[in-house]
Amino acid sequence: MGRKRDILLAALILLGIWEVSALLLNSMALPEPWMVLLDSAGKIANGSLLDDLAISCLRALLGIALALITAVPLGLMIGAEEGLRRRLSPFIYLLYPVPHVVLLPLIIILFGIGNFSKIFLIALIVFFQILVTTRDAAKNIHRNYFLAMQTLGASRLQIYRHVILPATLPKILTAMRISIGTAVAILFFVESFATTKGLGYIIMDSWGRADYVALYTGISCMAALGFGLYLLLDRVERKVCAWTQSD
């Protein structure tokens, strides 16, 4: 496929730029890509990196999943039910612009410094992004679709299943695309303290030890994690939104 080839080409160009910069800069702080690659491969092969990769992956995925299963139903209902929308929208209006990251101390006081707090903070931040997009998408569904369902004698639940959810799905997936970036950023933030596991920890730890190759291994794995989630989403999108790519 042409698209795949283009992406591969872009990756090679980026690696090339990295290589050239490393050679020009000739500094410990920017090791050459092959050194990082070698380090990563070695650590994955002997298993010392797998744990961290797995736990980071799990934290990000669970955070996103938790946000998704709460924000989507709620967003659909707030968007589609006028009474609910009138009552709840002012709350969203006030709560959405709050930088939720600052709630970290509160979350740690409530849930401790374990995995749950980390997942919860990721979920909280992603929750609002998905909630607002889903609500707006559900609110703007054309009236005709509801009329058509009414002529077919559909129940409210059937309308959710056959109209409201599928109509908003492309928007929800776009919101998730943005959320992946956010989730990985927050992942780094919550893994950068009070833990000894995860890619965030690896980055902070090797930075502290001035082990720059290990540092870039951590950064590259973080990037790969984000990219992997992106690919996963691509696949889901092609499956559930076939109709939007049909032209």
Binding site: A148, T151, L152, S155, H162
Partner: protein, 247 residues
């Protein structure tokens, strides 16, 4: 039998009531066909919604004897872009909880009848306007309606496709003894398909005249003198109503 008795309808926006339909009275016999014609914006769609039970009159009554099953085709077809042709046609049956096997039989039969074989897996966005209209007709027919409400189902088609679909509708109506109510702004279409033609005035719509047209639907009607004269008659009635001078 469908009976409208001095039905009135108005929409309110900006605090004021805007009358849309005024003192509408007429009857449509069971297994007959009726065309509703009138200038743009006169309230044809609103009247069809009243008959189909999608809207309630402010005063007056709409009654349909014997609670028959009905199917409705909306002005812009109301097809769901996220469902395939097959799923769109079968939706009414799915919502009624009909078993899969029977839905499949019914949909496949309709695909053949409507000349849509091979397009079941397509999405509406991949079809021409005429094919979309046939899908909309098939969806309405899938529930085996005794009354079919159609809102300009053939607008935006070229003359020949239009006549072919008119013939198809006429054929199906006779074969299945369906009562048909058709909204149109095309005079020839009203005369070819409507045994009774209800002519509405410009907005707010009143019944200007009810024209009996017993020859409707007969073979070669379009080529006959009666057809021609009836079209002229309708044109005369509609003259001066065009831009809805009454407000």
């Amino acid at each position: 039998m469908i009976t409208a008795q001095s039905a009135n309808l108005s929409f309110s926006h900006g605090g004021a009531d805007h009358p849309v339909l005024r003192e509408i009275s007429f009857q449509i016999e069971a297994e007959s066909s009726c065309a509703i014609i009138g200038p743009s914006g006169c309230g044809k769609t609103s009247l069809l919604f009243l008959l189909a039970g999608l809207l309630q009159p402010d005063s007056g009554t709409i009654t349909i004897a014997g609670q028959p099953r009905s199917g409705t085709i909306l002005q812009n077809f109301g097809l769901f872009p996220w469902k395939t042709v097959y799923q769109n046609i079968g939706l009414g049956l799915v919502l009624k909880g009909v078993e899969k096997k029977r839905i499949q039989q019914k949909v496949e039969q309709l695909l053949i009848e409507m000349g849509l074989t091979g397009f079941g897996a397509h999405y509406p966005g991949q079809l021409s306007g005429g094919m979309q209209q046939r899908v909309a007709i098939a969806r309405a027919l899938a529930v085996e309606p005794q009354i079919l409400f159609m809102d300009e189902p053939l607008s935006s088609l070229d003359a020949l496709t239009r006549e072919r679909l008119q013939n198809l509708i006429q054929e199906i109506r006779l074969k299945k003894n369906i009562t048909m109510v058709l909204v149109t702004h095309a005079i020839e279409e009203a005369v070819f398909l409507g045994r009774r033609i209800i002519v509405l005035s410009g907005r707010p719509g009143r019944v200007l005249r009810i024209v009996d047209n017993p020859q409707a639907g007969s073979a070669d009607y379009r080529q006959s003198d009666i057809f021609f004269h009836r079209c002229v008659e309708l044109r005369e009635i509609l003259k001066g109503e065009d831009y809805g001078q009454e407000t």
